[in-house]
Symmetry: C2
Subunit: 199 residues, 2 copies
């Protein structure tokens, strides 16, 4: 495919399987790395090995950390009764960048999907129910993506939690701060209109 | 930035410096790798270390190989008197995928650029002149990008080779196979019109 040495060919093939990289950008990235093998490629390989050696999923919430419990689950100040349910660790990171949430998280590891044959037991849903009971949660905030699968999953979880005496909320939908209407999809605009408020 | 363990933060930062990946796709890629640390992350780290250990630039043409001379420069069947000059190894790979060129290459390692202060001696131009004399080349094919810097570099090289008794050619410009006019930039259409042929 590239006439490059076999090791380079297979490095490109592995790189091209990363999300966000196709064959062309994998080739560019590998050439970039080869040109900077001392300053960039070796440190990157070492960083990957180190992370592969140390990273693990939090037994409680599914966040990525380096111990049985992640820093958030180990921090008593975050035991405020709120559990924010997200699909993925990337979403947890996005919430933490926002800095507005002070409680704990629960990472589902995906969404329910009939198409991909993903059911409740394939996600961290049973563990969530255990936590709601065991941690004395007062509010479960569903911060799932505004996709069909995300919303299906939100409704399923809301149904499972119903009757446990915990309030279930979800993120407000609307126009993002600084969002220009012209660039938003129609669904966002309709949802924002429905949820309109008196000024 | 992500509230992730320090090793993961720095892995994301290094990944985000790769061409084609920004911070967001670097975060996604790293999470993808962590989820597949056994099957994907370790093999990737090992492949990088292996390539960092073995890859080197061909002393003759600048192609990436694993020995003093790359496979193309070591292959006598490719000594047909043609030298195809490209900016980058990625362009050499693209030409080889095409499979139409049977000669040897010369990888400049960039283009002349007043803005970036890149002169002839920063590229592999002196070595090209040596090769044209030493290898008894009959034709130098300039396969540089159709950018301002690429074309400036092509003209400079053509001037340097003039008088060495070697023909200097460049890739034809025109409408790509399957290209729809509506999607092409104006320069391409004008160039294709100027170079029009009688059917
Ligand atoms: Zn945790
Ligand atoms: Zn070579």
């Amino acid at each position: 495919m590239t006439d490059a040495p076999k090791d380079i060919e297979s490095l490109i093939e592995v790189m091209a399987r990363l999300p966000g990289l196709g064959p062309r950008s994998a080739r560019r990235a590998v050439l970039h790395l080869i040109k900077r093998r001392g300053q960039l490629m070796r440190p990157l390989a070492e960083a990957m090995t180190r992370v592969a050696d140390t990273a693990r999923e939090c037994l409680n919430c599914g966040n990525i950390g380096t111990a049985d419990l992640c820093p958030i689950c180990s921090d008593d100040r975050r035991a405020n009764g709120q559990i924010c349910v997200v699909e993925d660790v990337a979403d947890l990171w996005a919430m933490e960048r926002g800095g507005a949430f002070q409680g704990r998280y629960h990472v589902l590891g995906g969404t329910l999907s009939a198409l991909d044959d993903i059911g409740p037991d394939d996600l961290r849903i049973p563990k969530l129910i255990d936590r709601v009971r065991g941690e004395g949660a007062t509010e479960v905030i569903l911060a799932l993506n505004a996709t069909v699968d995300g919303q299906t999953t939100a409704h399923y979880i809301a149904g499972e939690i119903e009757g446990l005496g915990v309030s279930v909320t979800s993120l407000a939908q609307g126009v993002p701060i600084g969002g220009e209407l012209d660039y938003l999809d129609d669904g966002t605009i309709s949802a924002a209109l429905k949820a309109r408020k008196t000024l």
